[in-house]
């Protein structure tokens, strides 16, 4: 069984309270960092650990931290991005719900490393009940001297604030999150300037995912090198994967990066295979915005090697035959699922969540959604498929924030790998309405 660094104690009764959490080794990283390490040393440990941002982009956290501008006399901020709203991703919710003190501990240690005196947790509006859990935990941390003035006698002060968003997916984008946190409409900002130079209230700001911040705790406790020893190459440490779809045992799993995809889907410790004895048809390995993989590319790469749960291996083959680890929203489709319908569903989500600021995303996502709706409901033409591809190309890379790309990739990949299914929807609309394309015409591997 793999080591669990984050959610080891998630099942302990009462772990949401300060006493129980402290009994299980909680807040050790705060003590270690504040009493024995300088902020630079903490940043150095995180750099050594090779931790990569767990929110989706996979940018090295230590590097992000070292980019933070540190002008004299200007406040700096750490903002935790708890606006988890990617379809298929629910790891942060699990982590905050079960282990609120782990996030707070990570926030204190990380804020200390960055020299932030006022840090924020921006939580998704729908997670109101988690907001209450976190607020209770923060009150406990204040009462026990882990937050507030002069933490553990080190002379370091920190205030931690939880703010709920209004429930917009776009506010998970770091600059939109900052705008929303400032009380404005959550539109992404133009970059440059990057938040590391000019972020919240115009001050240098670091925005990190919940899981990235939580991962700082084991990194400080055990040292960056010990953390880097887990995993393969540049994918180090453990990662929470939210497995959903037609699996025997869906749920949140903490895996050591480098686990094979086959083991993750079929292994007894993990998802235990496809539900109801069906066959695997496709898989979206990193949340709805990453390209979908057909069954023959899920466990093996195009080159024939085993596909592993790492940033590199899942991206092997580029977008032609690979995907991305993304935020770890592992969605599995069995043979009965309709890819066109699913693609339409994703497109509908992005059309709904586009902020409407820049034109390719605003008009393009809505257009794609309508064309896909037509295809799915038997009113499409073959030109619509190539039209979709063209709309895709015009959105991708031309938008302010990555939402445009996130909306374009799944559609592009679905057409790339399942074009025959799209064509079948056009050619036999009646049939497409009543039964599923399934795997009938896709040769299964032995």
């Amino acid at each position: 069984m793999a080591r669990k660094l984050l959610i080891e104690h998630a099942a302990v009764p009462g772990i949401t309270t300060y006493e129980v959490y402290r009994k299980h080794g909680g807040y050790a990283s705060v003590e270690k960092a504040l009493k024995t390490m300088s902020p630079e040393e903490v940043v150095e440990e995180v750099k050594k650990s090779g931790l990569r941002g767990r929110g989706g982009a996979g940018f090295p956290t230590g590097m992000k931290w070292s980019f933070l501008a540190k002008p004299e006399g200007v406040e700096r901020h750490l903002v935790c991005n708890a606006d988890e709203s990617e379809p298929g991703t629910f790891k942060d919710r699990y982590l905050m719900e079960k282990l609120p003190h782990l996030l707070i501990e990570g926030m204190i240690t990380s804020s200390y490393a960055l020299g932030a005196r006022r840090s924020y947790i921006y939580i998704r509006g729908e997670f109101m009940y988690i907001l209450r859990i976190l607020e209770k935990a923060i009150a406990e941390a204040y009462a026990n001297g882990m937050l507030g003035k002069n933490i553990l006698g080190s002379g370091y002060d920190l205030d931690l604030v939880v703010t709920p968003g209004g429930g917009a997916y776009i506010c998970g984008e770091e600059t939109a999150l900052i705008e929303s946190l400032e009380g404005k409409r959550g539109n992404p900002r133009m970059k440059p300037p990057f938040p590391a130079v000019k972020g919240l209230w115009g001050n240098p700001t670091v925005v990190n995912n919940v899981e990235s911040i939580a991962a700082v705790v084991p990194i400080v406790n055990e040292g960056g090198e010990a953390y880097a020893a887990i995993g393969i190459e540049r994918s180090t440490g453990t990662k929470l994967i939210s497995a959903s779809g037609n699996l025997v045992r869906p749920g949140v799993y903490e895996i050591e990066l480098g686990l094979s995809v086959e083991e993750f889907i079929y292994g007894d410790d993990y998802c235990r295979g496809i539900a109801n004895g069906k066959k695997l048809k496709a898989c979206v390995p990193g949340g709805s915005s990453v390209p979908i993989l057909p069954h023959y590319l899920v466990t093996k790469t195009a080159a024939g090697t085993d596909r592993l749960m790492t940033y590199e291996s899942l991206a092997d083959g580029g977008f032609a035959s690979g995907s991305m680890l993304g935020s770890g929203g592992f969605i599995v489709f069995d043979e009965d699922q309709c890819i066109v319908r699913n693609t339409w569903n994703f497109a509908r989500f992005y059309a709904h969540e586009s902020c409407g600021q820049c034109s390719p995303c605003r008009e393009g996502t809505g257009w794609m959604e309508k064309v896909l709706y037509r295809l799915e409901h038997g009113n499409g033409t073959l030109e619509d498929i190539s039209l979709l591809e063209e709309i895709n190309k015009k959105i991708e890379g031309n938008t302010i924030c990555p939402l445009g790309d996130a909306a374009a990739w799944p559609v592009a990949a679905a057409i790339r790998h399942f074009r025959d299914e799209f064509e079948w929807h056009v050619k036999s609309p009646q049939e497409a309405q009543t039964r599923n394309y399934g795997l009938i015409q896709v040769p299964l591997e032995a």
Partner: protein, 320 residues
Amino acid sequence: MIKVTIDDVEIEVAPGTTILNAARQAGGELVPPAMCYYSKLPGTGGKCRTCLVEVAAGSTADPRPMPKLVASCSTPAMDGMIVKNKTSERVQTNRGGVVEFLLVNHPLDCPICDQAGECHLQDLGYEHGSAKTRYREERRTFSPIDIGKKIKLHMNRCILCYRCVAVANQLTDKRVHGVLHRGEHAEISTYIENAIDNDFSGNMIDVCPVGALTDQTFRFKSRVWFLKPYEAECACDKCSGKAVVWMFGNEIFRVTARKDKYGEVETIEDKTAWICNDCRYDKKDPSKWNLIGPRKIDRHSVISQGKYATKNDNNPKLIR
């Protein structure tokens, strides 16, 4: 000073200048179009994506090309940067794509739109658009609403450039004008349809690149190309009083601010010459204005005659 090369033309500009402004200093064909950027309104730009350009070399220090097309209005130029606008096939295709997106929900009611003839979207559509739309679905529609006594909002025509939001935020004191909803459903509104009552609210009409915000005192009175623009001034204690009056015979049909070739209000005596609502709506009597002389319109629109004819001759692609 730093040196940038745009479409093989070398330009020297001050550090921190954006690519678009650098191009404007050089002028001519190499200037990317801008639907949302308005140099007189800080914070605008980056939204419409029509000004996308290709950066073939980032700078002398880091000559790698930028992987994505960048918005020239919000990307600062660097020393030794090589930018491709007209010369880049990729830019032209993607700009065409952006224009297509802008036209997806645009009603194309130019025959009855007051902006026709001085509309940036018309110009862009003419340059990059195709004769037929590929959009088969229903367009989003809104009913026209009155915002303020003198401004009519046709949300159908709006391309959400946010320029009027910037005017409302920066020129008027109440923040009641903004964007509601998101995505395709986003709409400009005064919160919620609260009439804007401010001396400078009329400038929204001038900054609007399309016909979404129109002057109620001029609506449906005349096509702009039938009117003669005159530079005029009047004594006004609220604004500069420097405007353009649009006349037909001895009658003033409308009053606008003086706009340069990029459709932006001119800077006169170091101040942006916004005009107040009194000058714009109420001074329609020629005796109140001191007419200086005919106003030259050098923006490429139907007002500057002959522009489209020559274009058509040189570009057989456009005759379909």
